[in-house]
């Protein structure tokens, strides 16, 4: 399938592709915190600029990514509408007949939706330029000094989660096609349609889980694996510094 590219590594030769995994993980955390702290439109604009620059710099296929982000855009709209309607405040349109949309709710909704989309974009930039094994090794490296945390297990769980998100998205796309070919669209009841999709998807995912567990065991899965070699170049530190700069700017209000 491979039509869904969100969270998928796309090989390349750019600075972001070659960047040290640990620093890339640092950038991901720093930018995520910055997104969480962003409140004003200028913050969002700076974060959007930084993320788009990273995506363009990494030469990732923006058109295909935009297609994948549609799902998150839908969630963003739901968040926006829910906040606009349910958060109390000054009415936006005083004489709106059906529901009352508050100015505060709209503002909160826009911020939450914007944060969601920015996080998705940041994740796309990092995941698109980093093989999962590099992220796994970087996470393990970061967690190793933390007492009582099974670093290798946590890192492998993160690895498998990402692998599974891709597998589930592929399965989902395949099932949608299969059901469309059998005229599922003629069923008007969305809950029924969701049932047609959700149950087989769950079953298939569980089957795939079992297969992957067998495949990992047959290839001697172990938590003590070959140690990775990390090398951070000056440019990597530069990128990490820029991300930190964005965080400082956003957190300074």
């Amino acid at each position: 399938m491979a039509q869904v590219i969100f969270l998928r590594y796309m090989p390349g030769d750019t600075l972001l592709h070659k960047m040290d995994g640990r620093l890339k993980l640092f950038c991901l955390v720093v930018l995520s915190v910055a997104v969480g702290l962003a409140t004003g439109w200028i913050h969002f604009l700076v974060l959007l600029g930084a993320t788009v620059t990273a995506l363009v710099w990494a030469k990732l296929p923006l058109g295909a990514l935009l297609r994948d982000w549609r799902f998150f855009a839908v969630i963003g709209v739901v968040i926006l509408v829910a906040n606009a309607v349910f958060v109390p405040g000054e009415p936006l349109l005083p004489y709106f007949p059906l529901v009352e949309v508050s100015q505060e709710g709209l503002g909160v909704g826009l911020r939450f939706a914007g944060r969601l989309l920015l996080i998705v974009m940041v994740c796309s930039a990092v995941m698109g330029t980093t093989p999962i094994s590099v992220l796994r090794d970087a996470l393990e490296w970061c967690l190793r000094p933390v007492p009582f945390v099974p670093a290798a297990r946590v890192a492998m769980m993160m690895n498998l989660t990402i692998v599974f998100v891709c597998v589930i998205m592929d399965n989902y796309a395949e099932m949608v096609y299969a059901q469309k070919s059998r005229c599922v669209e003629s069923c008007r009841n969305p809950i029924k349609r969701m049932k047609f999709l959700a149950l087989p998807l769950l079953t298939r995912t569980l089957q795939r889980t079992e297969e992957i567990v067998y495949a990992m065991e047959s290839r001697c899965y172990s938590e003590t694996r070959t140690q990775p070699i990390f090398t951070a170049h000056k440019a990597d530190w530069g990128v990490a510094g820029a991300c930190l700069g964005v965080l400082i700017f956003v957190s300074s209000g």
Binding site: Y9, I132, E217, T226
Partner: protein, 249 residues
């Protein structure tokens, strides 16, 4: 002398289904054995026992006369299992990353991992694709990738579970070429397939499973005549024309 032996293997699943009934089979060093049988005859369950992924309800599997449960990691390293569904076996997000998964689990030094990954990809003719996302590969390439993933662990015995399923002519030929080449290089090959016309010419032995039992075991010329009664298609060319039962020219 058998390297791999299953003795009186019985496997009953938790729901009470008996998948294997008292199966005994010896596989000698350097042999090319084809396991065949209808769907649900127990072939896949059997080969999963050989790799220690499933443990028998009764019976034992030994490698060089040592029960495989004594050192499962070494057993899994030396008995490579290529699964039926290539997608389920792929763990990495690049071809090289996926091939490195096994050697990294074995804690081989980084340089050794890089070397075996390169070697394994060369054997399956995929050196150029080491940076590719495995999910964008064709069916045949994915299958070759799973073979590389197993070869990178330097196994002596290779088990292929239905490696031709879903492949076009070219894909089958590519896999079969590698399989035959690996046998020539000295690997013991166990091939699970019901498409006998594609590879039987290369086999030393043909083993037929039927409803969890080992029904027939012997030289291909002797066994092939009666395979239809076990739900396996008998190729038209038999007897002295056995050498024609291959998709390799």
């Amino acid at each position: 002398m058998p390297v791999l032996e299953a003795r009186n293997l019985t496997h009953v699943f938790a729901d009470g289904t008996t998948a294997l009934r008292d199966v005994s089979l010896k596989i000698g060093e350097g042999e090319f054995v084809i396991l065949t049988g209808a769907n649900g005859s127990g072939k896949t369950v059997f080969v999963r026992h050989l790799n220690g992924l499933l443990l028998p309800t009764q019976g034992v599997v030994t490698l060089d006369d040592v029960p495989i449960t004594h050192n499962l990691v070494e057993v899994r390293r030396s008995i490579g299992l290529v699964f039926q569904d290539a997608d389920s076996q792929i763990i990495g997000q690049t071809v090289a990353e996926d091939v490195a998964f096994g050697p990294e689990n074995l804690r081989w030094p980084r340089e050794a991992v890089q070397r075996v990954v390169k070697e394994a990809l060369a054997v399956v003719g995929m050196e150029e694709l080491s940076d590719r996302n495995p999910h964008t590969l064709s069916g045949g390439q994915k299958r070759r990738l799973t073979v590389a993933g197993v070869l990178a662990m330097k196994p002596g015995i290779l088990i292929f579970d239905e490696p031709f399923t879903g492949l076009d002519y070219r894909g089958v030929v590519q896999i079969l070429e590698r399989l035959v080449r690996l046998h020539e290089l000295g690997h013991t090959v166990v091939l699970v397939t019901h498409e006998l016309e594609k590879a039987l010419a290369h086999a030393d032995r043909l083993v037929v499973f039927d409803r969890g039992r080992l029904a027939e075991d012997g030289e291909p010329t002797a066994v092939i005549e009666g395979v239809e009664k076990y739900g396996v298609r008998r190729p038209h060319k038999t007897g002295e024309e056995l050498s024609a039962l291959t998709w390799l020219r």
